[in-house]
Subunit: 427 residues, 2 copies
């Protein structure tokens, strides 16, 4: 390994990759540790869950990205703890890595608000496995319904409930509705997939609360046009294999998807510093851990207050801006220059899609909805994918889906699980 | 369901699909039962195992193929038995399906010659899950080697053993060698992946015994040029997590792949008819089960002797020819025409590839080897894929691999398994 200041980055998400990218040419050596071998383009993960895209189209081996950066070492490993007194990171396999500067960018997972027992029946969507689990369950529900003679059980199999109406929930519900109403009807003989119910549940008063009321109302109308039942203002009070309790009404539904809470990874625990309710480490305005100026925490596992008191949102652009900021901080320190000051988040806009033809965009002064917004959304996402190959592959998959109406990744995999789930669905 | 003669087909492999295809327009209704929701293009499965292709590029939802055939019903289900007296098929979920004509096309799986205890350490390659298992193990071995400080353990992690040198074994060994020597070296900092050993073990006297001695010798030279150690004439006598015993020599190798034996699915058991040593049902020259003229058995689960006494090989073109033959038989019977006579297999040629630049082809009189053979192999395989989308996707993946030297599907998925396997590899 080359000599020099050693920057250890834990987490190869948007924040970690931006940081490593921006350290190019700096007098440092970098070790990037992730417990997965791939970077995942999470904004399109819902399209893997709904059979539009294949897993390899939105995930890239991390080490491949640094082929031409000999100063960057990639390690596949799970961090178990940080010792700030010896300035080391301990991996689960026993390896101990020393750092001069440490950056924790370990992200977040979904949370069930104290109801972890809901996890097996209502999977969330954070990893490729989550996406293939949801894909398998949605496809299997239609398959089991085709085999089912009992009408009540068939209806429960054909009822899909998405819990939480942020962008991910809206996107999932929209595509499942399109599958049921447009892609699948011609393929089943014993059931009419157009009779499937897709229920989107939101505890708050409206869907997509991060958008204006007008855009939110438009999104709701578009979802309803696709056949989604939107139910706002009633929280989910129970999830079981048989269905979901919304307030005190039970909806028989064999397929539940969780798109509600978020829980940060344990960076705050490792550092023994204060965290907010979602477990995010409270960092200071330079994104360093209080009392540890050589430890940065960025992305979904950090809680950063801005000058105006509003929190930085847990989205990809925010993580990238934090990664870029930390790279500037490290360079400034190594060069003995003054620090670039406090981190300031610049909001570039909010986007959400509803099915395959409509989207809403809020750029602040400019607000867009409908087909044009969908095209801007699509081009923006292709632009942000990594590498020529993926851009072509995703563009081709989308083009194909539009031209043919067919989804290209409708695979049920993992046979052992398939058997278990078939018996779960049969109740 | 429409009225008419009911043909039940079990298995959506090459034979089953050809049969359903050729029954188009016949006065029958068809029920196609498979325990998977997808047809798999097995000849390219090794490319999923070696990260060149993505799973969705070589697998298609079976029911999607019959969107425009309302007389075809597709059921996802596992057959548990056949009752020829009541002419019914029983599924695992309790459903019982009546048939007028039954066609069993349920294929084969790999066999360990009485050593089923080798299965966990030496996975075979028959399903998409098998392919992603092998992919995960190969990629994880390099990752673990990068973390390993002990030289002996690192060498064992960097030794890959493929058991069985038929086309699949040769193809696997060739691509793993290319990965180690060409794709991966620039990406690792603590190991030199070019020092990896790829060992191809064949109990018989030469590799690819279905080809001529000259083509077989050429393939061996090409494999050795890629860095594969070819070891013929010594059977594998034990497989463990630590390595493989070849004759009485132990080779420390943490990654084993099984490409040797084949075991037919239990069609013969269901029918209580005679089977050969590999479990294949012995059928008569019209491909019907002895004593059951309305039950056909085709493809890898049937043992068909030809007029000259040689067996029909267990390859895709043979299964397709049998599917087409059975479709002609069913049509002839329904129209009261004489049967088309005995099934006769027409061998169209044998193909095998060695890495990404060379192949061998035996068309009988014409024999080819080298780059031209590779191109013919590639074009033929793209031609036989199902659907425009897949043809473009696979052509694009191959083109990309050739131009960039990069593989596009290098994903390690299934995290829980990942943890188990990481500890298995650490020994």
């Amino acid at each position: 390994m080359p000599e020099g200041h050693h920057v250890v980055v834990v987490g190869g998400g948007f924040g970690g990759l931006q940081l490593v990218h921006d350290l190019k040419g700096a007098p440092v050596r970098v070790t990037l540790i992730d417990r997965r071998n791939h970077h995942l383009f999470q904004p399109l993960l819902y399209q893997v869950a709904t059979t539009v895209l294949a897993t390899s189209e939105i995930a890239w081996p991390i080490r491949q990205l640094y082929r031409d950066r000999p100063e960057v070492t990639t390690l596949l490993g799970e961090v178990k703890g940080v010792d700030t007194s010896t300035k080391t990171v301990a991996l689960a396999n026993g390896l101990v890595v020393s750092y001069d500067t440490l950056v924790l960018a370990t992200g977040a997972t979904h949370a069930y608000f104290g109801h972890d027992e809901w996890a097996p029946v209502a999977p969330g969507l954070k990893t490729l496995e989550d996406a293939t689990t949801i894909r398998r369950r949605v496809l299997l529900a239609f398959e089991q319904a085709e085999l089912e003679d009992d009408p009540a059980r068939r209806d429960a199999l054909l009822t899909f409930t998405v819990i939480g109406a942020g962008p991910t929930g809206v996107e999932l519900a929209g595509i499942i509705a399109e599958m049921a109403h447009r892609t699948l009807p011609a393929e089943f003989r014993r059931i009419d997939t157009r009779r499937a119910r897709i229920v989107l549940v939101e505890a708050g008063p409206r869907i997509l609360p991060a958008f204006t009321e007008e855009l939110s109302a438009y999104a709701r109308r578009e979802l309803e046009r696709l056949g989604v039942e939107v139910r706002t203002g009633g929280p989910v009070t129970d999830c079981t294999a048989a269905g979901v309790m919304i307030g005190d009404e039970f909806v028989a539904s064999r397929t539940l998807v969780w798109a509600a809470g978020v829980q940060a990874s344990p960076a705050a625990e490792w550092l023994a510093i204060e965290a907010d309710r979602a477990g995010r480490a409270l960092v200071d305005e330079e994104l360093t851990a209080p009392g540890h100026p050589d430890v940065f925490v960025i992305g979904d596992t950090a809680s950063v207050k801005q000058a105006d008191g509003t929190p930085v949102p847990g989205i990809a652009p925010a993580a990238k801006q934090q990664g870029a900021f930390v790279a500037r901080m490290i360079r400034a320190r190594l060069e003995g220059r003054p620090a670039p000051g406090a981190f300031r988040y610049r909001h570039q806009g909010s986007l959400a899609t509803i099915g395959k033809r409509a989207a809403i965009i809020d750029f602040g002064r400019i607000k867009l909805k409908g087909a044009l917004a969908w095209w801007i959304w699509g081009v923006a996402h292709i632009y942000f994918l990594i590498g020529t190959r993926s851009r072509f592959a995703v563009a081709w998959s989308w083009l194909w889906t539009h031209l043919s109406g067919q989804h290209s990744a409708r695979l049920i995999t993992q046979k052992e699980i398939l058997r278990e789930e078939a018996s779960r669905l049969q109740g």
